[in-house]
């Protein structure tokens, strides 16, 4: 493996990075190198031992390790170089990638292009500010997942889970199967955060109490957690004191959201979107810095790995085009979040090509129309924040956009009577 004359460096070998490298290699660039901090490639997939991965991308119901195995197999078949135990410490706007590696020590790479695919990290107790003591036994759901599924430790036998995101619900099932008792899953919002499949198969299947509109107001225990105080919240999400009660537990798992991991992006001067927490990207997944692309959870937090890989592939293909001397379309049209829309990715499009846009709504709503300006709309029976909406917009719809249009507002609006799905 040579570290010189690289066409593309991919930072992170999870489902986005592997797919980016595969996409780039299949597009004809020769010198692709994936940098990975861990000892093996695959990222978080290794600890996600449950199934439900790959239904779209591989048309099969795979577990996380199987998905990783399959994609890593393709990386190997294509002869893509991988440098594991390599921690990228900085990226400059002109693509100098600095890294510390077990094999080569400190290195500076100068590839033609870079794909950012560092993924995301979990919000912690500090991010949501739960009062109380600071005992052991309070951990994020993903950390607990690693303990249970990879390292072989059970973090508790009487567990409270805060947050009804998918990881939290999946851990409720894992803990139950491993013999622990899940005392309750609490959700501050009046609806479940994750997928309905997980609510049914992880919570209801095992009769686990699910308390909506509830939160934790205190943590008890000096050395190790002993209990939490919980309370119902009002419409403004403020705890109602008279509903307080104490739940004994020996572990508290937090499943309270994910944050795209963008320290390296910032070092490269990449501009972030405050709505997604990830880089502003065009339809090619190029960031604000020429030659630097971003895909997967680094760009915005996904609920399905399949979309992570599709985005990675897109970034890889376009990074390859640029490295081979092609010109990428100028993305002059901004997609702006409107009514009941939290964010839209990509944030800019050219208006010339077929494009898939990912939309996250702010609140659940039934019988809606998703609209992009005046030229595209799609009726949906239901939308909710935990389920990303994917809109495939064919270029024939885009032809009606007037020349010189600078922005298009994306709205989620109620459907008027008489319209059918």
């Amino acid at each position: 493996m040579s570290l010189d004359n690289l066409d593309l460096v991919v930072v992170g070998a999870g489902p986005a990075g592997m797919a980016a490298a595969i996409g780039a290699r299949e597009s004809g660039v020769q010198r692709v190198l994936i940098l990975e901090r861990a000892e093996q490639i695959g990222g978080l997939l290794h600890q996600c031992i449950h199934n439900g991965f790959g239904l779209q991308y591989y048309k099969e119901d795979l577990t996380g390790p199987e998905y990783a195995h399959r994609m890593a197999g393709r990386v190997a078949d294509l002869g893509i170089d991988v440098l594991t135990e390599c921690m990228v410490t900085g990226i400059s706007p002109d693509h100098v990638v600095s890294a510390v590696t077990r094999k080569h020590g400190y290195v500076k790479l100068k590839p033609k292009g870079v794909v950012l695919s560092m993924g995301c990290r979990e919000r912690t107790r500090d991010a949501i500010g739960i009062p109380g003591t600071r005992p052991a036994g309070v951990l994020t759901a993903g950390t607990a997942q690693r303990y249970i599924n990879v390292e072989g430790y059970l973090p508790g036998r009487k567990v409270v889970i805060l947050g009804s995101g998918d990881v939290g619900m999946i851990m409720a099932r894992r803990l139950t199967l491993e013999g622990a008792r899940v005392v309750a899953v609490l959700e501050i919002l009046p609806y479940v955060g994750g997928l309905i499949r997980n609510e049914v198969q992880c919570i209801h299947d095992f009769g686990i109490p699910l308390l909506l509109s509830h939160t934790i107001t205190d943590i008890h225990g000096q050395r190790h957690i002993e209990a939490v105080t919980i309370a119902k919240v009002d419409e403004r999400m403020q705890p109602i004191p008279e509903t307080s009660r104490v739940l004994e537990c020996d572990a508290l798992l937090l499943s309270v959201g994910l944050i795209p991991e963008n320290e390296l992006s910032l070092s490269a001067g990449v501009v972030l979107d405050p709505r997604t927490g990830g880089p502003l990207v065009t339809e090619t997944r190029q960031t604000s810095v020429a030659g630097i692309f971003a895909a997967g959870n680094v760009a915005h937090v996904h609920d399905l790995v399949d979309n992570v890989s599709l985005e990675g592939e897109l970034a890889g293909v376009n990074a390859a085009r640029l490295a081979l001397g092609d010109e990428l379309p100028r993305a002059g049209i901004r997609l702006v979040p409107g009514e009941n829309i939290r964010y839209v990715v990509p944030q800019t499009i050219s208006g010339k090509n077929d494009v898939t846009i990912y939309v996250r709504v702010k609140r659940p709503e039934q019988k809606v129309r998703m609209k992009a300006g005046q030229f595209f709309e799609k009726a949906l029976r239901v939308v909710e924040p935990g389920v990303m909406v994917k809109l495939d917009i064919a270029s024939r719809y885009l032809r009606s956009i007037p020349e010189g249009t600078e922005e298009i507002v994306v709205d989620c609006v109620p459907r008027t009577e008489g319209q059918s799905v």
């Binding site: 599924n149 072989g152 309905i196 609510e199 198969q201 659940p364 239901v382």
Partner: protein, 127 residues
């Protein structure tokens, strides 16, 4: 006397609560509460035979990698998940294992095998 069963549909985020009414012999008399035909089919299947893919881990005899991830090769009856876990708790696998290898054939006499979902070598490379 007919009996009512309720099934939460997972086909889409609407999560309809579908009511399945059956007679004394367990024959379905009516289904309502669903909003699409996929939901009706799901509710009937889920009422008649609720099945799930079991995913878990088993202990390994490898020094550096304590656990091997496993799954049932096909869904098994939901009611047998916890019973299956007690069988898995008694298993220790020796490397090498390849993803897809059968760890326990015909788990609890079902038509599903317990299979490895990752490779297990006696070093750090578990891909």
């Amino acid at each position: 006397m007919s009996e009512e069963h309720h099934v939460r549909c997972i086909v889409c985020p609407l999560g309809c609560l579908v009511r399945v009414v059956v007679d004394d012999h367990g024959a379905v008399e009516s289904v309502d509460g669903h909003q699409c035909k996929d939901g009706k089919k799901y509710a009937l299947d889920e009422y008649k035979n609720p099945v799930r893919v079991l995913t878990a881990t088993v202990l390994t005899a490898a020094s550096s990698i304590p656990l091997l991830s496993v799954r049932s090769s096909r869904p098994i009856p939901k009611a047998r998940l916890l019973e299956s876990m007690r069988v898995l708790a008694r298993v220790t696998v020796k490397p090498p294992v390849r993803a897809g290898d059968v760890i326990i054939p015909r788990l609890l006499g079902t038509d599903a095998d317990l299979v490895a979902t990752a490779d297990l070598q006696d070093d750090h490379n578990v891909i």
